[in-house]
Symmetry: C2
């Protein structure tokens, strides 16, 4: 994770890609979203989705997983360069989460994050607040998933 001072509005990063196999779709659905079109190919085909479809929460959780891995790679590279490593703060939530198209079994979704706004926290001088639009695009280039995340990022040289 970069420090507040190193972030610019418009910065865009590729978080990574993930293939939603039928096996992984059913596993997540069995744990958290056991609706018929997430559990069974035939039920998926009969549904509005037209096939076995990943739970929207599965798509969101995979995006989170890739965001964390991206931040951890960033921290490792900073440490390897001998730079100070920024440790991110909590997220108060997000807005406008949209499942734009179904993610069907076998689809590969590539996730991106783009900084939309940036400001210093008025109450916590050691933190900045960043808003980023996180999106997922499938192997046909179609946008399938989008949300606006808000998170705290540490300021350089401002210890709590």
């Amino acid at each position: 994770m970069p420090f507040y001072e190193d972030i610019k509005v418009g910065q865009r990063g590729e978080l990574g890609s993930f293939t939603f196999t039928a096996e992984l779709i059913k596993k997540f659905a069995g744990q958290f979203d056991p609706q018929r079109f997430h559990l069974d190919e035939e039920e998926g085909r009969k549904s509005l989705f037209g096939g076995l479809t990943a739970s929207g929460w599965h798509v969101a959780a995979v995006c989170m997983k890739l965001m964390v891995a991206y931040a951890q790679r960033h921290a490792r590279h900073a440490a390897e360069r001998g730079d100070e490593v920024a440790i991110g703060g909590p997220s108060p939530g997000f807005r406008d989460l949209r499942w734009i198209k179904p993610v069907l079994a076998g689809d590969t979704v590539t996730f991106f994050s783009e900084v939309e706004s940036l400001r210093a926290s008025s109450t916590r001088p050691e933190w900045g607040i960043v808003q980023a639009r996180n999106t997922g695009t499938n192997q046909r280039g179609e946008l399938v998933f989008s949300f606006l995340a808000t998170g705290f990022v540490p300021r350089r040289n401002a210890k709590p």
Copy 2:
């Protein structure tokens, strides 16, 4: 799931309760959100959260799980009464998801859903569109989680 015609603005249902044990918190985090304060008690204590904390996506996924179980109980009861069973449609997304307070290891969260608005779909006459505020409250009565969900509900006697 009820039919569009049976839903009223202001209706509130208790979806169910869930205890976020340390074991379940770490299991979800290992799969989807491997940040230190979701994986380790000591790291949690040193963090802003003050203890091992459930991933916000874990809280959201558990809410989904309880919503599905609630809808399935509703369908079973309708079938037992000999009523027609409504089958819900997809959700296009949600808004304003907020993680208001941390959910710490051992916390029990009770989830509720309250209908905020209801309208017929202008393009799909067999569906209505419902917006519901879903919330989670911990064992101390504190609101910890909230989001506004949008979903399609079937209209009675309107076959696709």
